[in-house]
C-alpha cells in the first residue's frame, strides 16, 4: 500500500518534469538554432544539419553584422543604428518615467477636480493602437519641424509611454498611505519635498518596473521607427529588417542570426540585471493598489 502510493507520487512527478523539460526545450530551440547558426560559416549552414553544433565556431558573422553588413545601400553593419536606438531609448525612457512618476504622484495623492477623468483618459491612451495615430502624429511632427529626427522619435515614444508610466506609478502610489502626506504637510514639507523625501525613496521597485517596460517597448518598436525616422536616424529594429532583406549574392543566415541577437541583447541584459525587481514591483503595486 505504502509502496504503491510512493511509486504513484514519484511516477506523477517524473511525468510532470518530463513534460516541463520537453516544453522548455521546444521553447528554447529557436534560440539554440539562432546561436549555433550565428557561429557557423555559410558553407556549413548550406551543407549541414540545422540542429548540429558548429564544427568550427567563428565570430565572423557577428563581426560582419556589427560593422560591415549591408542595410540597404550602406554597408556599415548595425553599429550606427545601435547607437541611434540608444540615443532614442535613453532620453525617451528617462523622460516618460519621470513624467509618469509625477503624474502618478499627483493623481494618487493630490487629487483635484477632474483628476479621475484625466486618469481615465490616460488609461484610455494605453489602448490606442499605434496604427491609429500614425498619420496625425506625422503631421504634428512635420509642423513641429521634428520629422525624421531623433528628437521627434523621442517625443512620440514619450507621449505614448506616459499613459503606461502614469498608470504604473499611480497604482503604486495609491498603496502608500495618505497619512504620510498629511504628516509631511504638518512637518512643513511642500509638494516637491514630500515627493523627494517621502515618495522617491519608496519608489525603487516601481521605477525598475517602469524602466524595464519602457526600455523594452521603445527598443523593440519597429512601426514608429520605420515611419518617423530619416536615413540617419533609423533605430536598430529598422536596420535589422533592412539587413535581412538586403542580399548581395546568397542569403547569409549566420549574419542575420547574429544581427537579430545583437538587436535583442540590450533588452535581455536589462531583464537579467533588474528582473527580480520586475516581479517584485509588479506584485507590490498589484496587491496594494
Amino acid at each position: 500500500m505504502n509502496l504503491k502510493m510512493l511509486s504513484g507520487i514519484s511516477l506523477g512527478r517524473v511525468a510532470i518534469y518530463l513534460i516541463l523539460i520537453v516544453f522548455a526545450l521546444l521553447y528554447l530551440a529557436p534560440l539554440y538554432v539562432m546561436l549555433t547558426t550565428s557561429l557557423k560559416d555559410i558553407e556549413e549552414i548550406r551543407s549541414g544539419n540545422l540542429l548540429a553544433l558548429p564544427n568550427d565556431p567563428t565570430f565572423y558573422a557577428w563581426i560582419k553584422a556589427w560593422s560591415s553588413a549591408c542595410t540597404g545601400s550602406e554597408c556599415n553593419g548595425l553599429a550606427p543604428f545601435f547607437w541611434n536606438s540608444v540615443k532614442i531609448v535613453v532620453p525617451a525612457v528617462l523622460i516618460s518615467t519621470v513624467v509618469g512618476a509625477f503624474n502618478g504622484y499627483v493623481l494618487a495623492k493630490w487629487k483635484f477636480k477632474g483628476s479621475e477623468l484625466l486618469f481615465g483618459a490616460l488609461l484610455f491612451g494605453c489602448f490606442i493602437p499605434f496604427q491609429v495615430i500614425l498619420l496625425p502624429m506625422a503631421i504634428l511632427l512635420a509642423k513641429l519641424g521634428l520629422a525624421n529626427t531623433v528628437s521627434g522619435l523621442v517625443l512620440v515614444h514619450v507621449i505614448y509611454g506616459v499613459a503606461f508610466t502614469t498608470l504604473f506609478f499611480r497604482n503604486y502610489y495609491v498603496g502608500i498611505p495618505t497619512e504620510l502626506v498629511r504628516a509631511a504637510q504638518l512637518d512643513g514639507a511642500g509638494f516637491l519635498n514630500i515627493f523627494r523625501h517621502v515618495f522617491l525613496p519608496l519608489s525603487t521597485p516601481i521605477f525598475v518596473v517602469t524602466i524595464i517596460w519602457q526600455f523594452t517597448q521603445i527598443w523593440n518598436d519597429f512601426l514608429f521607427g520605420v515611419v518617423y525616422s530619416g536615413p540617419g536616424t533609423q533605430p536598430i529594429t529598422v536596420a535589422l529588417n533592412n539587413l535581412v532583406n538586403t542580399s548581395i549574392g546568397g542569403k547569409e543566415y549566420n549574419v542575420d542570426m547574429a544581427a537579430a541577437i545583437i538587436a535583442a541583447l540590450p533588452t535581455l541584459f536589462v531583464y537579467v540585471v533588474a528582473g527580480k525587481y520586475f516581479v517584485r514591483g509588479l506584485t507590490a503595486g498589484a496587491v496594494k493598489g
Partner: protein
C-alpha cells in the same frame, strides 16, 4: 499661545453635512477630548484644525490669529496619527528631525532637540533604526517624538492608541497624561474609547452626527449627561435604561414578578412634564449588594432574578430584567458567585436621571 477657538465651523462633503455649527473654545494647556461613535465627524474636525481639510464656513483661531485659510505648516500644530504615519525609509532620528529640517533649523540644533526628545521618551537606543524594525509601542513613541520635536502651539492626537494591545494601551495612556502634565501644551485628542476619554481629559466634547451634544468635565459628562445619547455613550458597562410608568411621583418597575415604586430626585419635573411613562437611567454601580447607607429616601431593596453573571475580577456584572428590559447590576465578586433567582438587590436612585422616552432629552 495654544488657545484654540472654533467659531461656527461647518463642513460639508458635497451635499453631506458632516459638521454643523461647531463652537468650541480650547484653553491654553487644556486637554480636550473629542469623542463619539464612528462617522460622527470627530476626525474631520481634527483635520480641519490641522488644516488638512478646508472648512466650508466658520473661523479657526489659534493663539490669537485667524488661521482658517492658512496651510497646515503655517498653523504651528503637530499631529499624531492613528497609523503613526512614520516615514518608512527614514531612520527614527530623521523621522523626529524631519519637521525641523523642513523648517531650516540648523543641524547642530536639530541634533540637540532630537537627543532631548529621545531622552524624554526613552527611545535613545532606537534612533538609528527604521520604523519597520520597531514594535507598535515604540512606533507610537517615535510618532509622539516627531510631534514633540517642533514644540508646537498644540498637539492633535487622532486615536493614537487604537492600534496597540490592551495592556500597552493603558501604559501609553498614563504616559500621555504624564507628558501633558510635564509640558502643559494644549492637546486635542480624538478617540472613541470612553475610558480613554474619562481618564485623560480636562474636558470632553461628545459628538454625534456633526453636532456637539455636550461639552464638560469627565465628571459632568458621566454624572450629568444632557441627553440619552451622552448617557448611553459614556460608562462601561453602560447605563441602564428602563421605561417606567409614572404613578404618584414614583416610577413603577416590575422585578422578579413583583412590583416596586421607585422614588427619583426629579419627581416634580416629571409631574410638570405630564408624561405617563418616562425613561429611567441608572448606572450599574447604583444597583448593588445590600450594604449600609444613609437614608435619603432613595434607597430600597428589590428582589432581582439574575440570569447571567459576568465576573470582571474586581466586581461582577449580573444581568436580569426590569419591566422586560435588560438591566446590568454591579455586585461584589462574592455575591456574584451565589447570585441567582430572587437575589436581594439594593437600588439607590439618588443619582438616577430621567429622559423623555420619545426625544431622549433630560427631564430635570
Amino acid at each position: 499661545m495654544g488657545h484654540i477657538q472654533l467659531n461656527n465651523i461647518c463642513k460639508s462633503f458635497g451635499s453631506t453635512e458632516v459638521l454643523k455649527n461647531i463652537d468650541l473654545e480650547i484653553q491654553d494647556g487644556e486637554f480636550l477630548i473629542l469623542i463619539g461613535p464612528s462617522g460622527c465627524g470627530k476626525s474631520t474636525l481634527m483635520n480641519l484644525i490641522a488644516g488638512l481639510e478646508d472648512i466650508t464656513s466658520g473661523e479657526i483661531v489659534i493663539g490669537g490669529s485667524d488661521v482658517s485659510d492658512k496651510s497646515p505648516k503655517d498653523r504651528d500644530i503637530a499631529m499624531v496619527f492613528q497609523s503613526y504615519a512614520l516615514y518608512p525609509t527614514m531612520s527614527v532620528g530623521r523621522n523626529i528631525s524631519f519637521g525641523l529640517e523642513m523648517r531650516k533649523v540648523p543641524k547642530a540644533k536639530r541634533e540637540k532637540i532630537v537627543a532631548e526628545v529621545a531622552e524624554l521618551l526613552q527611545i535613545n537606543h532606537l534612533l538609528d533604526r527604521k520604523p519597520g524594525q520597531l514594535s507598535g509601542g515604540q512606533r507610537q513613541r517615535v510618532a509622539m517624538g516627531r510631534a514633540l520635536a517642533r514644540s508646537p502651539k498644540a498637539f492633535l492626537f487622532d486615536e493614537p492608541l487604537s492600534n496597540l494591545d490592551a495592556k500597552l494601551r493603558v501604559e501609553m495612556r498614563t504616559e500621555i497624561k504624564k507628558l501633558h502634565q510635564r509640558l502643559g501644551t494644549t492637546i486635542v485628542y480624538v478617540t472613541h474609547d470612553q475610558v480613554e476619554a474619562m481618564t485623560l481629559a480636562d474636558r470632553i466634547a461628545v459628538l454625534k452626527d456633526g453636532v456637539v451634544q455636550q461639552l464638560g468635565t469627565p465628571y459632568e459628562i458621566y454624572n450629568d449627561p444632557v441627553n440619552h445619547f451622552v448617557a448611553d455613550f459614556m460608562g462601561s458597562p453602560g447605563m441602564n435604561f428602563v421605561e417606567c410608568v409614572v404613578f404618584n411621583d414614583k416610577l413603577i418597575i416590575e422585578s422578579a414578578s413583583k412590583s416596586y415604586q421607585l422614588a427619583v430626585p426629579c419627581a416634580k419635573a416629571i409631574k410638570d412634564s405630564g408624561l405617563e411613562s418616562v425613561l429611567l437611567g441608572i448606572r450599574p454601580e447604583m444597583l448593588t449588594d445590600p450594604k449600609p447607607y444613609d437614608d435619603s429616601g432613595f434607597v430600597q431593596e428589590v428582589c432581582f432574578d439574575v440570569e447571567v453573571v459576568e465576573p470582571m475580577g474586581a466586581d461582577t456584572v449580573a444581568i436580569g430584567k426590569w419591566n422586560d428590559t435588560e438591566v446590568q447590576v454591579r455586585l461584589s465578586p462574592e455575591s456574584g458567585e451565589v447570585a441567582g433567582e430572587g437575589f436581594t438587590l439594593q437600588v439607590d436612585t439618588s443619582k438616577s436621571i430621567i429622559f423623555d422616552p420619545r426625544s431622549g432629552n433630560r427631564i430635570r
